[in-house]
Symmetry: C2
């Protein structure tokens, strides 16, 4: 996290990540999803098809239950998710993606595909594949949640 000349690998990873995130948010805003924040998206992204509990989302996103609850509140107010009682546990409630939420998921998938296509055009198919392969491999020793 220090030297300027040969940029360290951490920074090198961060730059394209940031670029991707910025593109996705700009694209979502254009398509009418202009009320999503990055923090909300990080939680939203992890909601399972059958719905997820706030506690599960917190663990997977690496934040506290309180923070996750706060972000889910906002997502709920904006109409991206809804909370329903968990039939299996009276204490718990399931967070589920709404109609509007599903549309935003589809939109963001499209934007991601678009950016990835640009990267592939710049790098070439072979090197883009290598990149994904190597990153997937690196994940084994850098992803705390599997």
């Amino acid at each position: 996290m220090s030297d300027p000349a040969p940029l360290n690998t951490g920074v090198l990873l961060f730059l394209p990540y940031r670029a991707m995130e910025a593109r996705v948010f700009a694209g979502l805003a254009e398509r009418g999803f202009d009320d999503l924040t990055p923090a909300q998206a990080r939680v939203f992204q992890r909601i399972a098809d059958r719905g997820s509990r706030v506690t599960e989302l917190a663990e997977q996103a690496g934040i506290t239950k309180q923070t996750a609850g706060f972000l889910v509140d906002q997502l709920e107010r904006a109409g991206y998710v809804e909370r329903v009682p968990d039939p299996d546990d009276g204490r718990a409630r399931l967070v589920r993606i709404t109609e509007r939420g599903a549309r935003s998921v589809a939109a963001s998938a499209g934007i991601v595909a678009e950016v990835e296509a640009e990267w592939t055009a710049h790098l070439g198919v072979r090197r883009m594949d290598q990149l994904r392969q190597i990153l997937a491999d690196l994940r084994e020793i850098t992803d705390p949640w599997r």
Copy 2:
């Protein structure tokens, strides 16, 4: 930023970045630099040898001048940087790294090297080289500041 099964390239980049950052901060804290926050580090990292202006730092870090000034205040209070008048411009002041700041830079460089060595051990020298090469190449279309 959406599908769960084949993780998108953005998330794939983020995971090792986050791991690197966490390691550097943990390592710095162990070595007595426990009062640095990620946001401060992001600014600190960009200070040139001869000193930098707050406005320059803000641009390069992608934050506003106000936020940069706020973070430099904190770094100054913690003894990592000092502000001196800019001899070339009476309005400006140069932010420079102090003795303590320089020691933290050296420490973080060591930790980064250590993590990179682990990654190389996992991936192999050839693939680690490929990774850095591809990321450097990708930087051409994803780094807004050059």
